[in-house]
């Protein structure tokens, strides 16, 4: 090996660098293709569009710096969102009070019954009844969720992540994802029933 002189290892180094550069470019391109999906989740995790843009930019800056820690072939969207939720948590979120929930039997069907009752006796099919909620009221109700619950609801309902992916992204057990999801959706329904139809 040493007899063949300095040229051989140097060429090897060159090849290694070139192949690493190609790998990095591939990583960056794949990450950029996911930007819209990452933004959609970010947008509902924070209050304003500006904050969401900033959060996504910080996420990509960190992702591009630490691209080597991504394992090719694994879920890059989940990997990016793990960075994003960490950055978002670091922004120093306030401790929030969890709203009191009504007993399950009442809150469970509360929104459905309330929506169905708006136009009196006229029975609407189940598909149409939710359309009585305005888009704005849904966005507001999501924004009003305490962030622990909101993060899970946004990841699973908007990001369409599995419980396992959401658990990994947020670094909590799957059981916590499921209970926060359940509770978060109940709070959401309660808010929608109280705020949007009064």
């Amino acid at each position: 090996m040493s007899e063949s002189g300095a040229a051989e290892p140097e060429a090897e180094t060159g090849r290694r660098i070139a192949s690493e550069a190609r790998e990095r470019v591939r990583f960056e391109e794949e990450a950029l293709e996911l930007a819209d999906q990452v933004y959609r989740v970010a947008r509902r995790m924070v209050g304003t569009r500006e904050e969401a843009e900033e959060l996504v930019q910080d996420t990509y800056a960190r992702a591009f710096r630490s691209w080597r820690s991504f394992t090719p072939g694994t879920n890059m969207r989940a990997w990016l969102l793990r960075i994003l939720t960490n950055l978002n948590t670091d922004r120093g979120r306030k401790i929030q009070r969890t709203p009191d929930l009504q007993p399950l039997e009442e809150s469970d069907y509360y929104l459905a019954n309330k929506l169905a009752a708006v136009e009196g006796e006229q029975a609407l099919d189940q598909e149409r009844v939710v359309e009585r909620l305005s888009q704005g009221s849904i966005v507001d109700a999501l924004a009003a969720l305490p962030h622990d619950f909101r993060d899970v609801v946004v990841l699973v309902d908007l990001g369409e992540f599995s419980y396992a992916d959401a658990a990994q992204i947020l670094d909590v057990p799957i059981g916590t994802v499921m209970s926060r999801l359940h509770r978060g959706r109940r709070i959401l329904k309660q808010t929608l029933a109280e705020e949007s139809l009064t």
């Binding site: 060159g14 843009e53 996504v56 591009f64 189940q126 939710v130 309902d157 908007l158």
Partner: protein, 82 residues
């Protein structure tokens, strides 16, 4: 509306996973069997499914124009010259 079918409790437990497609195939069979029989749970299931879809459609906002270009600028130095 059936009055407290003992299966409803099990169904309540499985409903969320069923809606999120996060059940084992065995659990799917249990959940679907119950939904076939129980009017109350079926009504609830349909409402939840529609609500979830409606929330998704309502709350999704596309990435602002220009953000992608800003992200692309954050890429590492180009591999030119290698």
């Amino acid at each position: 509306m059936t009055d407290h079918d003992p299966d409803c409790e099990k169904c309540e437990e499985l409903l969320q996973g069923y809606l999120d497609r996060d059940l084992t195939s065995q659990e799917v069979v249990i959940a679907e069997g119950h939904l076939d029989r129980c009017d109350y749970c079926r009504r609830r299931y349909r409402f939840e499914a529609h609500l979830r879809r409606y929330i998704r459609v309502s709350a999704i906002e596309r990435m602002p124009a220009g953000l992608l270009a800003k992200l692309a600028e954050l890429r590492g130095p180009t591999a030119d010259g290698l």
